[in-house]
Symmetry: C2
Subunit: 221 residues, 2 copies
């Protein structure tokens, strides 16, 4: 019954609608009029809150990344075992991504549509999320739960890629739940794909060189 609750304007619904359309057709191909009509408001009302279409996208991404951080933090807090924390975090990330929350999808795949200051702001938020994951991986590595020599940043990028890509092919009726996919992917990452008797076959020297930490592990923009 607060003041905000009495407002007739459904701001969250507007963002949801915008996210759905942006995901379906892309940011540039979606018009403000379409969003307004689908959300049941007039274009002018959108403009009153968001001076430009870009601001709508930023607000939507902002909300999505806050949700992601909250979801993963909550999930990881359920245990203190470093390995298990990573597994639960992975689950939470994938659950959110596949939950029908189009905002996360848009965040991942439409950030090219942003330029200048808006892009910087989103990148800064994303960095926070990534730093959180790096922390979890660092703890796992420190507790001896990761093979020595693995590059934590590359591990994170590796895992993010595998998991984020799921959004491009997953369909709810596909016979696997998001949790199952997360756990299968977790097992692939944790145990590898080679059977036990093959693990020592590849020349160890070769691999150890390739896995040495890079001199400058600076990531791309």
């Amino acid at each position: 019954m607060t003041k905000a609750a009495l407002r007739t304007f459904d701001e969250a619904g507007l963002l949801d609608t915008a996210a759905r359309l942006f995901r379906q057709k892309g940011f540039a191909a979606t018009t403000l009029r379409e969003i307004a009509q689908a959300a049941g408001v007039l274009p002018g009302s959108i403009h009153y809150r968001y001076p430009a279409k870009e601001a709508l996208l930023v607000a939507l991404m902002d909300r999505a990344i806050e949700r992601a951080i909250a979801a993963v933090q909550t999930a990881a807090a359920q245990t203190s075992d470093p390995t298990e924390r990573v597994r639960l975090g992975l689950r939470a990330h994938l659950q959110l991504l596949l939950s029908g929350d189009d905002g996360v999808y848009v965040l991942l795949y439409d950030w090219r549509s942003l330029a200048g200051r808006a892009r910087e702001e989103i990148v800064r938020l994303r960095d926070r999320y990534e730093a959180f994951w790096d922390g979890m991986l660092y703890e796992a590595a420190g507790a001896g739960r990761l093979r020595p020599g693995v590059d934590l940043k590359l591990v994170r990028l590796f895992g993010f890629g595998a998991v984020n890509w799921v959004a491009t092919w997953y369909s709810p009726g596909g016979g696997r739940t998001p949790e199952q996919i997360a756990d299968v992917f977790w097992s692939y990452m944790a145990l590898g794909l080679l059977p036990d008797e093959q693990r020592r076959d590849p020349a160890p020297a070769k691999l150890s060189v390739l896995e040495a930490p890079s001199p400058s592990s600076k990531e791309g923009k």
Copy 2:
């Protein structure tokens, strides 16, 4: 000295330019006039060859996927060892993706811009590429080079995700070559991230259930 070589119009260059702009700004946000100007031709000349902007995108994706298939096939043909074929294919895929050939990037990340028949055509081509990979993985599994119980389709989706995602963060001066990244990722996938003494820790029953083949492994739409 063939007829084609004498033509002044640089069709490949036009597609290159279009791919670069589509990658930078997205398909919908790029205008035909921009492409024409950047390629050094007039908008009318583009329209003569491609009746609609969408046709340009299709042609560009078509070329990209043919290149990808050719690159991976050539790389994999260098050996008959199933495991090594996969590793070399992975390298070739990543090399092409990071080589500056924006067409492959556009193919991966801009196919939402297509609708109807055009989308179906690209999906059909993409399926061919994926089937090729499935074949390589099947051979590796048959030769006992993969842990029993792994779902080959999920393995492919897992690997594609990790590798394709690299295009979103890679920068040429980042201290790692595409080949190094491919090999590191390969080692993560093959050997897993857990150290040897931890591999048997997680409850085996739990994991084996999760890795059971899905009853209906139908992929997304």
